[in-house]
């Protein structure tokens, strides 16, 4: 089976600053792959390199057997920050429609099939009733659902998601996990950066622990051990049945998961 992503001894970073060196992994169709690490560990940098926003600094990286970013029709990307802020007047449905633009290009008009995909994606994320709502009057969680619906509307072969559950409530997380499950069953692959080692990462086929180096790669049951998590996050508390991670150098979400 041909791989969707093939990285060999890859170095990633910004300009001349290498963030992580020696990254090697492969992503096959229908596979879910999680990147786990603190902020600044190289998760987002790796995702940006895969989608073609950053050039690989060294080593080899093939996406769909070609240059990263060359085949935008097959790849959907959810970044961590949206620069639009609250200036741009835009309705939820307009945001989701943008998920169809890569396939349509500059000219081709939206067809019924496109509109169906948009509606279906909004239903999947439970925001079909908010279609006409301006993005700026939505809550953070509703906005995140809208961005996720945009990614789903793309119907891409590869979904690259940077902390997709940030800001989602319990209901939103449940819908997201179901949606990813459906995408995988459809034959799509998912590459996701996450802090959630319990639910999200555990559901993935393989995980990579990052701490400005590759700590471990493999199936979650084998890789997510107190030792590797300690090396990745710094502080780990083992509770009755679960592992809890306290992130010391966490940038934007506060102290992470509370123990117990």
């Amino acid at each position: 089976m041909p791989s969707l992503i093939n990285a060999e001894d890859l170095s990633i970073g910004y300009g001349r600053d290498v963030v992580v060196a020696g990254v090697s992994f492969e992503l096959i169709p229908g596979e879910a792959f999680a990147l786990i690490g603190t902020n600044g560990s190289g998760k987002s940098t790796l995702l940006k390199t895969v989608v073609g926003l950053l050039p690989p600094l060294d080593g080899r990286l093939a996406v769909f057997d070609g240059r990263p970013g060359a085949d935008h029709r097959r790849i959907a990307y959810l970044g961590q920050f949206h620069q639009s802020g609250f200036v741009l007047p835009i309705r939820a449905v307009d945001v989701v429609r943008m998920g169809r633009f890569p396939g349509l290009g500059l000219w081709r008009p939206m067809t019924r099939h496109d509109n169906d995909a948009v509606r279906e994606a909004m239903r999947t994320m439970g925001i079909e009733a908010l279609a006409e709502t301006p993005l700026r009057s939505m809550s953070g969680g509703q906005q995140q659902r809208t961005y996720l619906a945009q990614v789903l509307a793309h119907q891409a072969d590869l979904l690259v998601l940077d902390e997709p559950t940030s800001g989602l409530d319990a209901g939103g997380r449940e819908l997201y996990l179901q949606a990813i499950d459906a995408e995988l069953r459809r034959g799509a692959s998912v590459l996701v950066a996450t802090h959630d080692i319990q639910e999200e990462a555990a559901l993935c086929h393989r995980v990579m622990l990052l701490a400005r180096r590759v700590v471990a790669v493999g199936p979650p049951a084998q890789v997510l051990t107190p030792e590797t998590l300690l090396a990745t996050f710094g502080v780990v508390i083992t509770g009755d049945r679960k592992l809890h991670v306290i992130e010391g150098r966490h940038g934007h979400e506060g102290p992470g998961k509370p123990p117990g």
Binding site: V51, G52, I75
Partner: protein, 284 residues
């Protein structure tokens, strides 16, 4: 009352030309200004509006087309900004600022060689809306059509750029290419509009109606429509005020756009407050 509103335009071709040209400028500025506001390009828009000054000044003194002079000025401006940002670590804000004051000073120096210094300068800065020729209107029509065409063709990449440039890049639309096309569209708007309302005031029509539109609209198309409406209203009201009270026409138009912006601002604030009050009792 009707008399007060209609007679000035019915009686004078000067006022009719002014209204037609002003309406066209308002439409062009609504489209270009929408992206100036959404992409945070106000500073480069302002710089372009003033950077064209030396080009126009040379054109006025040497006796060739002011539009050609403005185009040369805009090209030097954008070229200089690109050169500084690419060949140094200085931010584009700094580059824009350097070129901005440089070009403005150069313009004033050139104009000061002219016999009627303050008259020429005022004409360039505040325009000659009460001296618009039919040729100028035809040029403005062509330019407005070109600007609308650019915005229609690039609707998807422009929307993606305003939403999130990274998203645009991943979706297969080159950020660099479409950003430059956008700058070109803004430059074209400034170049053809300066005759009507002047370089200083093009900038007002570029940002004030579009910002008011951003406050009221629910999507980008509505924002442009609001901006065009506010622009045309400002031109109409500004011309009337200048006619009846014998005031400078260009400046009167801009004052009306600013007043309209604050009106939209007040409406939006009232609306937000009411929405918040409606939410509170339910505990949302």
């Amino acid at each position: 009352m009707i008399d007060w509103l209609v007679t000035p335009f019915a009686d004078s071709t000067i006022m009719q030309h002014a209204l037609i040209a002003g309406t066209l400028v308002s439409i062009a500025c609504a489209v270009a200004g929408t992206f100036v506001v959404l992409r945070g390009l106000a500073f480069i828009g302002d710089a372009l509006a003033h950077g064209v000054l030396p080009g126009i000044a040379i054109a006025v003194l040497a006796g060739f087309s002011g539009i050609l002079g403005a185009a040369i000025g805009a090209a030097v401006m954008i070229g200089g900004i690109t050169l500084i940002t690419q060949r140094s670590r200085l931010s584009s804000d700094t580059a824009i600022g350097l070129l901005f004051v440089g070009m403005l000073a150069l313009g004033v120096v050139i104009v000061s060689r002219s016999g009627s210094f303050s008259g020429d300068l005022t004409r360039i800065l505040f325009g000659e809306i009460l001296g618009i020729s039919v040729t100028a209107i035809v040029i403005q029509i062509v330019a407005t059509v070109v600007i609308l065409a650019i915005a229609a063709i690039c609707a998807r990449p422009f929307l993606l750029l305003s939403f999130d440039p990274e998203q645009a890049q991943v979706a297969g639309f080159s950020v660099r290419l479409y950003h430059n096309v956008m700058l070109l569209m803004i430059a074209l708007t400034v170049i053809v509009s300066f005759q009507t309302v002047g370089t200083l005031l093009v900038f007002g029509l570029l940002i004030a109606p579009a910002s008011a539109g951003a406050l009221l609209a629910r999507h980008i198309g509505a924002m442009m429509a609001w901006a065009a409406l506010f622009g045309v209203l400002s031109v109409f009201a500004g011309l009337l005020i200048s006619y009846h009270f014998d005031l400078a026409a260009g400046a009167a138009i801009i004052l009306v756009t600013i007043v309209l912006f604050f009106a939209a601002f007040a409406i939006q604030n009232l609306r937000d407050r009411r929405a918040a009050q409606r939410k509170e009792p339910g505990g949302a």
